[in-house]
Symmetry: C2
Subunit: 417 residues, 2 copies
Amino acid sequence: MRVQIKEWLEEHREEAVSFLQKLVQEGSVQGNEEGVQRLVRDRLTDINLEVDFWIPDDDAFLNHPYFCATRKDFSKSPNVVGKWTGTGGGKSLVLNGHVDVVPSGDPNQWDHDPFSGQVQDGKMYGRGVTDMKGGNVSLLLALQCLKDMGVSLKGDVLFHSVIEEESGGAGTLAAILRGYTADAALIPEPTNMKIFPAQQGSRWFRITVPGRSAHGGTRYEGVSSIEKSMLIIQQIQQLEKVRNARVKSPLYEKTPIPLPINIGSINGGSWPSSVPDVVTIEGRVGVGPDETLEAVTEEFEQALHDIDDEWLNIHPVKIEWFGAQWLPGSIDVEHELMGILQSRFKEVVGREPEIEASPWGTDGGLLTQVGNTPSIVIGPGVTSVAHYPNEYIELDKIFEAAELFTLVIYDWCGAES
Amino acid sequence: MRVQIKEWLEEHREEAVSFLQKLVQEGSVQGNEEGVQRLVRDRLTDINLEVDFWIPDDDAFLNHPYFCATRKDFSKSPNVVGKWTGTGGGKSLVLNGHVDVVPSGDPNQWDHDPFSGQVQDGKMYGRGVTDMKGGNVSLLLALQCLKDMGVSLKGDVLFHSVIEEESGGAGTLAAILRGYTADAALIPEPTNMKIFPAQQGSRWFRITVPGRSAHGGTRYEGVSSIEKSMLIIQQIQQLEKVRNARVKSPLYEKTPIPLPINIGSINGGSWPSSVPDVVTIEGRVGVGPDETLEAVTEEFEQALHDIDDEWLNIHPVKIEWFGAQWLPGSIDVEHELMGILQSRFKEVVGREPEIEASPWGTDGGLLTQVGNTPSIVIGPGVTSVAHYPNEYIELDKIFEAAELFTLVIYDWCGAES
């Protein structure tokens, strides 16, 4: 069977690269996902899946406790699901890939137009090519290959082509609430083909630290919000130590800080010679695969309230949880899908897979916690170039992943002989 | 003589209040000083002083090492000097007042139009009324009073009506370089009638702290410029302690931090989930009356270079000295003018004067260090409302100061009997 798959992939290589290029050229940043979703819809239709193409807008979705987005209007941002209905008796599988991409940033930092999909030396360059359109193409190739080989799967396969992963996961939430869940899920986010049975969640915080203004020459008459911010930062550093000391999972053995709290920005004060009366600190707190957002939120807020400072006791900091959030996700490392994946990985790649926990959130969190669909993240993209200028993917890896996914779907869903 | 002066001031009170109101109404923020300077020029002409009204634009001025301004074009910003040439044999005196005012800021924070000069309950309100047009009017009243009383002074009096005090002192520098220096100077900046024989100078710094970006979820792959900034801030706090431990002058006895280093702003990082790769810290370092800008600059830079940190050793911070600077100024507390001032103060105000060092810079620094004209700062304005909304001055204080200045000029310059 592997020989047959490899031949099929070789025959469809050129066409797949051209399709990936078209996906990149759509430049599907937030609010501009319609073009790329039409391409995906047509592709799913071509390979004979039942296609659902819809605008997420119902109340159950918009008012869900885990709805997290910077907008409520998705009229230009359809979701797509392709369903392969099995013959029955097999286990079902979600294949989840997002089509939204982060902005390309300063075009001068790119060697090529970020939305050209230029190919050079076996790599395709472009925003979103590694995160995660390359992985999506691997999945589509796997489905098309199985169809072309005439395989009849027993279990259902649901291909999620979702929006909003980069901004809080509303696309996957909408798919889950529309009933597109399964016994397990595969998500080909860029992992360099590492297997991530656990995914770190995260949440963004904004802390507003008060002070009292005064002339810099008599600064003792004021209270510096920058000095008070240092107490906050020290407490956050301490909290990070305490939280990480509790992490025992072998998945984090090689990770210097399993659950980082990143202080991403600090801004305050307006004049060199005035005492700054307010500072804003923004950051991201990592949420362990076995934690809830709620518990981490409470621990974080408690730590800041525990600071014993004369000024802050009377003028407490304000804590806001804003912007994006990602639920943590996980699957039992002994789960059957993990076994299939590892075994087929050895066969296809020729070595033992690396198994770790992801340092960032994926839609696997929502699938696990809201959709009751335990998820594994593994994909052909290059982790280190996601969100960066000159994002690229090695084309060979896309076909390696496609081969792996073909075999894993076949094993997991089962096939009529 | 005091009775005569008091009567004269009483007769001219209404007219002086009206003149001050006009000065305020000119709204002489940077670049808009021409109107107010025309009013001053006309007043000086009326009281028979020799008037010099000029645009500072010569090379010696623009290229002077202590030229410090945000502009080089003063074509709408004339300087004015009025000269009363003495009969000879007396000591000369500079009377220095700036006409530029800081911006009024948010007008909603004012109870009155900031440029109306509204009078209510014995106070005049408006931007610049306390800092320092009220003090300037006191000086003009003193000169006019002496003229009207027919006094023939022996020493010369030079009345400086200067621009740019709020932005680095270019107006006073121009007056000094044009030769308008004297044996001593009086500057009626708002001191609540305290006597400041020493004035703190200051300089603004900008520190750029480098880091290395990374995803927040793998923050250990980056270097946080916010964490490195904390080392910088701690070192600055330590330097402030060391510097202040050296201050022994009794003028600073009541001051909690004689020479503050104010950290005025901090800005860095752009995304909650990214490691911040650059932070900018701006602030103001106080320069003691007996220090030079150059020595303080060197000590500050050395302190930052002394930080022993693996990252900063290879990627040193950038230090810039930008924006405004004020030279420190001082006069010997045993100087003859100090004696005259204290003695006349007791007579006019009826109590011992408070003698301190100013926590901020004035044009007295340039007069002392560049013009070789030791300076005393004392004025009728309210220190705490300078630069703030609802800036005001108590009108009575203007006339009290005018009486004091009349007697001090008379004593210092000497008069033909």
